[in-house]
C-alpha cells in the first residue's frame, strides 16, 4: 500500500496541473490560439530584416512593413496549408479532375500531416485522463514503426487486405509493449512513469539505429534506412499524385472514436477516469489502480505505435532514423490543447497539421523560417497552460471560486 501512496504523492503536482488546464473554457482555448498567432506574427516581423530597413526610412514605413510581414506570413501559411482559393475555384470551374486534385493537394497534405498527430495525441490524452504522463510517445512511435517495417518488408506476396492490418497491428503491439514496461514498473514498484518513459525513449532511439544499421537496414544503401516496404502493405492512397492523402486518416478518426467510446461509454472507461481523477476514491470503490495503470500505458503505447506504423505504411514507405520529427513530443502539447478529449485532440491535431504543412510554403514564399511554427505552437501552449494571462488580456471573468457556500444552496434558500 505504501508504494501506491507514494505514487500518488509524486503524481500529485502533475495531476493538479492537468486538472487546472482541464477547467479552461473553449473561449480561453480559442483566444489562446488567436493570441499565439498574433504574437507569433509579431515575432516573425521582429526577426525580419525588411522591417528594420523600413524603420530606417521612417516610422510609418516600419509599421507598414510589420503589417506586410504579418499579411505575407499568414497568407503563405494559408495557401500552403489549404491551397490558393483562386486556383481552387478555377480548377473546379474547369472541371478537370487533375486540376482539382492539384489545387486541393495542400489541403489534403495538411490532413496527412495531422494524421500521426491524431494517433500520438490520443496516446498522450488517454494517459492524462488516467493521471499518467506518457512522455514516451516518441519512443513508442519508433518501436511501432520498427515492428511495422519488419512485417511490411519481410512478408511477401500477401494480399493487402491482410498485410496492411497485420502491419498496423504489429506497430500497435510493439508500441503497447514499450508503454507496458514503464506502466508495469509504476504499478509494481512506484517508479515514476515520467522518468521511465523518457528513458525508454532513449532505448528506442538507439534500438532503431542499431536495427536500421543491421538486420532491418537496406544492404544497398550506405545510410541507416530500411528497404522499401512491400506494395501490399501500403495504406492505400485515395487520389493520384501529388496528393498523398491515404486511409490512415480514417483509421486515426476511428481510433479517436474508439477512445471516446472506451472512456465515456464503458465500465472500463469509468474505472480508468475514476483512477485518473481520484485514486483514493477508486481504491475505496474497489478498483484496481495497478491494473488501470498497466492497461492505460499499454493502450497509450499502442496508439503511439500506430502513429509510427501510419507514417511507414502511408507516407514514407520505408523507415529512416530521423523519420519522426518529434510527433511524440508535440503530441503532449497537443493533448493539453485538446483538453485530453478525443474530439479536442482531433481538432488540435488538425491545427498542428495545417501549421506544419503551411510552414513549408511560408518559408518558400514569405522567407519566414520554418522554426516560427515551433515558436507559434509553444506560444499557444504557454497561453493554454497559463489561462490567467488570457483572462487578464481579454478581461474574462475568473471561474467561480469554490466558496464555503455554493451558489446553488443560497439561491434555494432565498
Amino acid at each position: 500500500m505504501t508504494t501506491s501512496e507514494q505514487k500518488q504523492k509524486k503524481t500529485g503536482s502533475f495531476s493538479i496541473f492537468i486538472e487546472e488546464i482541464r477547467k479552461n473554457s473553449l473561449t480561453v482555448t480559442i483566444l489562446a490560439i488567436v493570441s499565439g498567432l498574433l504574437v507569433g506574427g509579431l515575432i516573425a516581423a521582429v526577426t525580419s530584416e525588411n522591417v528594420y530597413a523600413a524603420f530606417g526610412e521612417s516610422f510609418l514605413a516600419g509599421i507598414g512593413a510589420i503589417f506586410t510581414v504579418f499579411w505575407n506570413t499568414y497568407k503563405a501559411l494559408f495557401t500552403g496549408s489549404v491551397g490558393v482559393p483562386a486556383d481552387i475555384i478555377a480548377a473546379i470551374s474547369s472541371g478537370s479532375w487533375d486540376a482539382i486534385n492539384r489545387s486541393l493537394a495542400p489541403f489534403f497534405e495538411s490532413l496527412v500531416q495531422a494524421t500521426p498527430y491524431i494517433f500520438a495525441g490520443l496516446a498522450v490524452a488517454l494517459g492524462f485522463r488516467v493521471g499518467l504522463f506518457n512522455i514516451g510517445a516518441e519512443g513508442q512511435i519508433f518501436v511501432g514503426a520498427l515492428a511495422t517495417v519488419w512485417v511490411a518488408t519481410s512478408l511477401k506476396g500477401w494480399p493487402a487486405l491482410v498485410h496492411v492490418p497485420l502491419a498496423l497491428l504489429a506497430g500497435a503491439a510493439a508500441g503497447g509493449f514499450w508503454g507496458m514496461i514503464p506502466g508495469w514498473l509504476k504499478a509494481k514498484t512506484g517508479a515514476h512513469e515520467v522518468i521511465n518513459t523518457i528513458m525508454m525513449n532513449y532505448i528506442a532511439f538507439r534500438l532503431s539505429e542499431y536495427l536500421l544499421n543491421g538486420v532491418l537496414g537496406d544492404p544497398n544503401k550506405a545510410t541507416p534506412i530500411s528497404a522499401p516496404i512491400e506494395k501490399s502493405a501500403w495504406l492505400p492512397r485515395l487520389f493520384p499524385d501529388p496528393n498523398r492523402f491515404h486511409w490512415g486518416f480514417f483509421v486515426a478518426l476511428l481510433m479517436a472514436f474508439l477512445v471516446y467510446w472506451l472512456l465515456f461509454k464503458t465500465t472500463w472507461g469509468y474505472e480508468l477516469r475514476t483512477v485518473g481523477h481520484n485514486p483514493n476514491a477508486a481504491r475505496y470503490a474497489g478498483m484496481s489502480i495497478t491494473r488501470s495503470i498497466v492497461i492505460t500505458m499499454v493502450l497509450s503505447g499502442a496508439l503511439a505505435g500506430l502513429a509510427g506504423a501510419n507514417e511507414v505504411l502511408g507516407v514514407n514507405h520505408n523507415l529512416g532514423v530521423a523519420f519522426s520529427s518529434g510527433y511524440g513530443f508535440d503530441s503532449i502539447a497537443l493533448a493539453l490543447l485538446g483538453n485530453s478529449h478525443p474530439l479536442g485532440v482531433v481538432l488540435a491535431a488538425l491545427l498542428f497539421g495545417f501549421l506544419r504543412n503551411g510552414a513549408i510554403q511560408m518559408q518558400l514564399t514569405a522567407g519566414i523560417p520554418i522554426d516560427i511554427i515551433s515558436v507559434l505552437q509553444a506560444l499557444i501552449l504557454a497561453f493554454i497552460a497559463a489561462p490567467a494571462i488570457i483572462r487578464t488580456i481579454y478581461r474574462l471573468k475568473e471561474p467561480k471560486p469554490e466558496l464555503e457556500t455554493p451558489a446553488v444552496e443560497t439561491k434555494k434558500g432565498k
Binding site: M1, T2, E5, E19, K265, T266, T267, W268, Y270, E271, T274, H277, N278, N280, A281, R283, Y284, A285, G286, M287, K397, E398, K400, P401, E402, L403, E404, T405, P406, A407, V408, E409, T410, K411, K412, G413, K414
Partner: protein, 506 residues
C-alpha cells in the same frame, strides 16, 4: 461602555453568493462573544474580512473607536486584532520560541536571533495568563492542546488584545476544552476580548458572555446564554425547528456481524497504529468508537473496509474470514462505508452526482450491461435518490464539487444506503456539517440500525458518539481501553478514557 471592536454593515459578495449581508456586531472589553452559525453561514468570511484577507464591498470596522483599514493580517495585528486559525500555522520542526517570534524576531547585533530574550518574554506571558509551555520544546513533540496555546501566545507576544478563535475546540479532548476555557476566562479577566467562532451549542451556552447567531450571511439575533437554550439556538442557526436529541428505541440486537480478534495494523510510516484490538458488532446495534483524532481509528476503519491489510489478527464478517480481503470483496459481502474524508476518499469531485452514485456498483446490472454503462438507467436511479435523500442540487448532472459539504455527504449516504447492506462503517459521518444535515444523517443511521444493520460509528465528537451508540469503545494509542454501555456511562468517564486514564473501578 464603548466597544473595543465594532463591525458596521459589513457586506461581501462573491460571484453568485452574498456571503455577508449587512452584518453588524460589536465586542466589549473583557467579553467572550460567541459567533454561532452553520458551516457556510459566513462566519469565516466575516473574520477573514476583519483579519484583512478579504476586502468588504460595504461596511466599516472600528477598533477602540478608530476606523480600521485592513489590507493584510499585518495591519490587523498592528491594530491589536489576532486570530487563531482552525488549522494551526506552526512550523513543526521549530521550537516554541522560534515559532512565536517567526515574523517578529528579536535580533542580537549582527542579525542573530535573540532566543533568550524571546523565551523570557514567552515565560512572562505564560505566567501571566496560565498558559504553561516550555519555550525550548519542539512543536512536533507537543500535544494539540499545547500547540493551540502556542498560537495564543503568538498573538499575545504581538500585543493583540482582541483575539479571534476559529473553531478552537474541534481538535481537543473534553479535558483540553475545559483547560482552553479556563485560559479564555483568564484572558478576559485581564482585559483581553475574545470572539469565539463555533457551531457547538453546548460550549456557547457554558462559556460565552454573549451569543450572535449568523445564518445565510445575516445576523439572526444576539442573545445572552441565560435568556436562551440549546434548542432555540439550533432553530436560529437553521431557520426551522430542530430535534437535537435523536429519538431511538432500545437496540434489538441479533447475531454478531463483525468479529475482530487481536487485530494489529500498521500506519503508513510502518508504526503500530492498531494494537491488539478485539471487539464485535451485532446486528441491530451501534458500536461507537470514541477517541481523540489520531489514536488508530483511521487505520482500524481502513483495515476493516479492506483498504489496508493487517499484520496480525483476524476479521470475520458475516461468518466469512475477510482478514485479507480487498475492498471489493468486503463491499460485495454487504459492507457500506462512509469514509472519514468525503472529498478525498468518498467522492470523485469533478464527477456528476449521477456518476458518484454508481461508484460502488458501476459494473453491476442494471447500471451496466455487457460492460456498457446504461446511462438512462443510471440517470433515473440518480434522480430518484436525489429526491429521496433530499440532495439540494439543480439536477443529478451537477458536479459534486459544486455542492455544499452537507449535500456531498448526502450523496455518499444515498449511495451507501441504497444497496442491500448488513454492516455500516460510518467514520466521522457528520464532520463539518451543519445542524440540519447532522440531524438528517443521524436519523438515517438509526434507521439502518433499526432495520437490523450492524453499525460501527467512529467519531471524535463525543456528543455524537454518546447520542447514537448503544455501546461505546474508547480508543487510545491504538488500543481499546474499555467498552462501556452507552446508557450507563457519563461524558466524564469517556473523557478520561479518551485521555488514556483507565479507572480501576469500571
Amino acid at each position: 461602555m464603548e466597544p473595543v471592536l465594532e463591525l458596521r454593515g459589513i457586506t461581501k459578495r462573491f460571484p453568485g453568493v452574498l456571503a455577508n449581508d449587512q452584518i453588524s456586531i460589536d465586542l466589549k472589553k473583557g467579553e467572550i462573544h460567541a459567533l454561532l452559525g452553520e458551516n457556510g453561514a459566513g462566519k469565516t468570511t466575516l473574520m477573514n474580512i476583519l483579519y484583512g484577507l478579504y476586502k468588504p464591498d460595504e461596511g466599516e470596522i472600528f477598533v477602540k473607536g478608530k476606523k480600521l483599514e485592513v489590507s493584510s493580517p499585518r495591519d490587523a495585528i498592528h491594530a491589536g486584532v489576532g486570530m487563531v486559525h482552525q488549522h494551526f500555522m506552526l512550523v513543526p520542526v521549530f521550537t516554541v520560541t522560534e515559532n512565536v517570534m517567526l515574523g517578529d524576531e528579536y535580533l542580537l547585533p549582527g542579525g542573530l536571533l535573540d532566543r533568550k530574550k524571546a523565551a523570557n518574554r514567552i515565560l512572562e506571558i505564560s505566567q501571566q495568563y496560565n498558559l504553561a509551555v516550555e519555550p525550548g520544546s519542539y512543536i512536533k513533540d507537543l500535544p494539540v492542546g499545547i500547540q493551540q496555546r502556542v498560537e495564543i501566545i503568538k498573538l499575545l507576544f504581538r500585543h493583540a488584545d482582541i483575539l479571534i478563535l476559529d473553531e478552537p475546540t474541534a481538535v481537543l479532548t473534553p479535558q483540553e476544552v475545559n483547560e482552553l476555557f479556563s485560559i479564555m476566562k483568564k484572558l478576559v479577566e485581564q482585559g483581553k476580548s475574545i470572539i469565539f467562532i463555533t457551531h457547538k451549542l453546548r460550549e456557547v451556552m457554558e462559556f460565552a458572555d454573549r451569543i450572535t447567531v449568523i445564518r445565510g450571511g445575516k445576523v439572526v439575533g444576539t442573545t445572552l446564554p441565560k435568556e436562551t437554550n440549546q434548542k432555540q439556538l439550533a432553530s436560529m442557526m437553521v431557520g426551522r425547528q430542530i430535534e437535537l436529541n435523536i429519538k431511538k428505541e432500545a437496540a434489538v440486537t441479533g447475531d454478531p456481524v463483525l468479529q475482530v480478534n487481536d487485530l494489529k495494523v500498521l500506519n503508513t510510516s510502518h508504526q503500530v497504529a492498531v494494537d491488539n484490538v478485539s471487539f464485535e458488532v451485532r446486528a441491530g446495534e451501534v458500536l461507537g468508537i470514541a477517541g481523540v483524532q489520531g489514536n488508530g481509528q483511521t487505520e482500524l476503519v481502513r483495515c476493516l473496509t479492506g483498504l489496508t491489510r493487517p499484520v496480525a489478527g483476524k476479521i470475520t464478517l458475516l461468518g466469512k474470514n475477510v482478514t485479507h480481503a480487498n475492498a471489493k470483496t468486503v463491499k460485495e459481502i454487504g459492507t457500506a462505508h462512509i469514509p472519514e474524508d468525503r472529498q478525498k476518499d468518498g467522492l470523485v469531485l469533478p464527477y456528476s452526482i449521477e456518476d458518484n452514485l454508481i461508484l460502488n456498483t458501476w459494473y453491476e446490472a442494471p447500471y451496466a450491461r455487457r460492460n456498457i454503462l446504461q446511462r438512462k438507467v443510471i440517470l433515473d436511479y440518480a434522480n430518484k435518490l436525489v429526491k429521496r435523500f433530499d440532495i439540494r442540487a439543480p439536477n443529478a448532472l451537477t458536479a459534486t464539487s459544486h455542492l455544499s459539504g452537507g449535500n456531498q455527504q448526502k450523496v455518499i449516504v444515498a449511495r451507501e444506503f441504497s444497496r442491500p447492506i448488513k454492516f455500516l462503517v460510518a467514520s466521522q459521518p457528520t464532520r463539518g456539517l451543519d445542524v440540519g444535515s447532522i440531524e438528517y444523517i443521524h436519523q438515517r443511521i438509526i434507521e439502518k440500525r433499526d432495520q437490523g444493520c450492524a453499525v460501527l460509528l467512529v467519531s471524535t465528537e463525543l456528543d455524537e458518539v454518546m447520542q447514537l451508540s448503544d455501546r461505546i469503545a474508547v480508543m487510545y494509542r491504538g488500543q481499546i481501553l474499555a467498552v462501556v454501555d452507552a446508557r450507563k456511562t457519563t461524558r466524564e468517564e469517556i473523557g478520561l478514557l479518551m485521555a488514556g486514564v483507565k479507572q480501576a473501578a469500571v
